[in-house]
């Protein structure tokens, strides 16, 4: 079916677009990015901020480009003096109800409100008046709320409800006194928040931020080596995205520079979370095969996404029995550092400080879970830095990142297969698992490497693989609303799934709550961004010799020297965990 084409004029330029196109998209075809704040392509269109107003012939009032569909013969002005003044005034009104602390704000230089104010020419305050006064909510382990900085764009409410299916946030009150927050404006800690940090990712200002861990890491780095041995591990997703924070094109792999930068900062050992990703595959594949043999507790649900685990415990506790008991790669690594590595180096675990660089905000919460600690209560992971926090630390130090020479991860926990690299994208864990599981099931030496069915950034993928005469039904979901659909299907029991990968963040870890903010006019959840970042990881994988987790010699050595059997007693004690239903219980 061919779309009907519409002819219109924007700023005097004629243009033809399919019927149903909005003015915002139509203008983009002419290379005009109409300024906007509340608009987001993955979320419902609200037309709330009014920044994208345009002047349309025949109307006395201005129409918002994000919501207005074109009609035949439409004549639009996007930059007339009246529009310029209106946009300027609207943004100033937002500033007038906003703290005046740009210079000490976490998003100074990186804030959409600030950028729009500059771009739209707010050079003086004409309207000044009373400002809202609302206390900061510092209670959460992962996400902090500063409602005074909120411009009520509603992106957080929409992402939490529409994409994540959690609906923890809502506007409360009315008019000038509207505040966005959890039910009853309780603390995030007392709410159903699952700490996924998507609110942080989409927030145009500093109203939502991750909990800062940089302070404690600076402190740890400053201590002498013999008092504190600071070890860092780096998640797969970081190497594909850190470069963006330094102006490199999106999708540039920066693994080598990343390692060098970390060493320069003073970390005593730089390990690769990829290593424990491989380890996770071994443990999980073993767990999976055992369940397939016994025919119980299928499907197996992955468990490396802490946002998803929170969601599991608060919303779907009855699915706990399906969830893999494997710790996440980050936690496996931290545990090994304070046991295996400590033993090898002859260090007291108390003297080791473990820092994890993660694209994820929920990992800060995961690190603080009581069961993720040693017997004396000291957590395995001491600090979690988001990609953004690390970028800031590197800049703060003064390191010229883009010109660094490439470095190599330390051994042995720096050797990894390509299967580990792709953990960072949706479908990656599944593909990595299949590379090992299929081999184990068929008994063949070399199994398939690439599983096309798992690739692609859409929210929900299902496939059936024929392995050894058996149908294996797999599913991959990202974004928790999609997970809900899947879990409901599992509960209905109409189809027997075997292996399901669930990632909390839409697009997987590369689109996590801790990733660099996209440039102005680029949408924070754009599928294109996910695709480009994912490609970087797939390319790294393709460029490696070692591509299957179970072929990683360092892993084999680890089992031989220290762990024993996969899923054996020691492996279970160190590398597995448990979950339990938590309150407040979410409403589905």
């Amino acid at each position: 079916m061919i779309d009907k084409m519409i002819n219109l004029t924007i700023d005097g330029e004629p243009l033809q677009v399919p019927a149903g196109t909005t003015l915002l998209k139509a203008a983009e075809k002419l290379g005009i990015n109409i300024p906007r704040l509340c608009y987001h392509p993955n979320l419902s269109i609200e037309g709330a901020c009014r920044v994208c107003v345009t002047q349309v012939k025949g109307f006395n009032h201005f129409l918002t480009a994000c919501s207005q569909e074109v009609w035949e013969g439409m004549e639009v002005q996007t930059n007339s003096p009246e529009i310029r003044q209106a946009r300027r005034d609207i943004v100033e009104l937002l500033l007038d109800n906003h703290p005046r602390d740009c210079q000490t704000c976490e998003r100074d230089g990186n804030c959409e409100l600030q950028k729009q104010a500059y771009r739209l020419g707010v050079r003086e305050r004409i309207f000044n008046g009373a400002r809202k006064r609302i206390p900061v909510d510092d209670s959460g382990q992962s996400v902090i709320r500063t409602p005074e900085k909120c411009i009520l764009c509603g992106r957080c409410v929409r992402v939490c409800s529409q994409v994540q299916g959690v609906s923890n946030l809502s506007q409360h009150g009315r008019g000038f006194h509207t505040v966005v927050g959890p039910a009853n404006l309780a603390n995030m800690d007392d709410s159903v928040c699952i700490q996924c940090g998507q609110c942080v990712a989409v927030c145009p200002t500093a109203a939502f931020l991750e909990k800062d861990h940089t302070e404690r890491v600076w402190e740890a780095l400053a201590m002498p080596r013999d008092i504190k041995h600071v070890v860092v591990q780096v998640a797969p997703a970081i190497r594909a995205t850190l470069g963006e924070a330094f102006g490199l094109p999106m999708g540039t792999p920066v693994t080598g520079k990343l390692v060098t930068a970390l060493r320069r900062m003073g970390f005593d050992e730089v390990f690769d979370t990829n290593f424990s990703a491989d380890l996770t595959i071994i443990e999980e594949a073993t767990e999976f095969l055992s369940r397939v043999q016994k025919g119980e507790n299928l499907p197996l649900l992955t468990s490396c996404s802490p946002g998803w685990v929170n969601f599991l415990e608060k919303f779907y506790p009855e699915m706990i029995k399906h969830t893999s008991t494997c710790k996440s790669p980050m936690q496996m690594m931290s545990t090994l550092i304070k046991t295996y590595y400590a033993e090898k180096k002859g260090l007291d675990p108390k003297d080791i400080y473990v820092v994890a660089i993660m694209p994820c905000v929920a990992k800060k919460f995961e690190a603080s879970r009581p069961e993720q600690a040693m017997d004396d209560g000291i957590p395995y992971t001491d600090a979690v830095l988001t990609t953004r926090e690390l970028a800031w630390m590197i800049k703060s130090y003064g390191i010229d990142f883009v010109n660094l020479a490439n470095g190599e991860f330390d051994r042995p926990m720096g050797i990894s297969s390509g299967a580990a690299d792709i953990f960072g994208t949706t479908g990656g864990v599944m593909e990595a698992a299949l590379r090992t599981a299929v081999v184990k099931l068929t008994g063949e030496e070399l199994g398939p490497l690439v599983f096309e069915e798992t690739r692609g950034v859409t929210g929900l993928k299902e496939a059936t693989l024929r392995v050894n005469g058996m149908d294996i039904n797999i599913a991959v979901s990202n974004g928790l609303t999609n997970a809900k659909h899947l879990l409901e299907a599992v509960k209905k029991g109409e189809k027997q799934y075997h292996l399901i990968e669930i990632m909390a963040c839409p697009g997987g870890c590369i689109m996590g709550g801790g990733q660099p903010y996209p440039p102005l006019d680029h949408d924070p959840l754009a599928p294109e961004t996910a695709r480009i970042r994912a490609k970087a990881l797939y390319d790294i994988d393709a460029g490696k010799q070692l591509r299957r987790s179970h072929e990683n010699p360092a892993i084999e050595h680890l089992y031989a020297e220290f762990l024993g059997e996969p899923n054996g007693e020691k492996a279970h004690k160190l590398l597995h965990t448990h979950y339990e239903a938590r309150m407040p219980r979410g409403i589905r």
Binding site: S167, N168, H172, R174, A183, N184, P584, I587, R588
Partner: protein, 187 residues
Amino acid sequence: MSHAVANTDNWEAVKAACLEFLPEHIIRYIEQNAKTTHSESQLIAILHMVQSHFGYLGKDQMHSVAQLAQIPFAKVTGVATFYHYFRLQPRGKHIINVCLGTACYVKGADKLAARLMDQLGIQFGETTKDKLFSLESTRCLGTCGLAPVIMVDDQIYGPVSPAEASLILEKYLKKNKGHKTAEASKG
């Protein structure tokens, strides 16, 4: 979105807990309603029932409504705080509403309000210490021919001068002479 079947793992425990906070007739209403299409649209009617019963919307009551009606808690409180008819704090025994609609305003409702605030010692939205009176302002009650108007509970008085309003208050105070002692003896 209707749910004929319980939609959470601990439904029985949820229902039992809700009995503690909501009266039976409201729980029954929510359950019956849950079977209809667009059941979540009855939220405002449910909140009206709760407020009718308790005089205000308590946090535990709202949470129970959220659980029973299977509406995310944040959405329930978001709705409750949007509509000014809903009160989230318990109020006094008698609610005094001063109409600030145009007709009343033009006939001096602001002076009326000032006199009442003075006499009671509270502002709009507040309750006297002895929990006898709450003072509110309301938008037009639709009795403009009697401007200026005050409403005490369901009784409309109009037109009232500031002096007449004081007398009306006195009447209620007299009627509630025992109120203070009752409160005091409750400790």
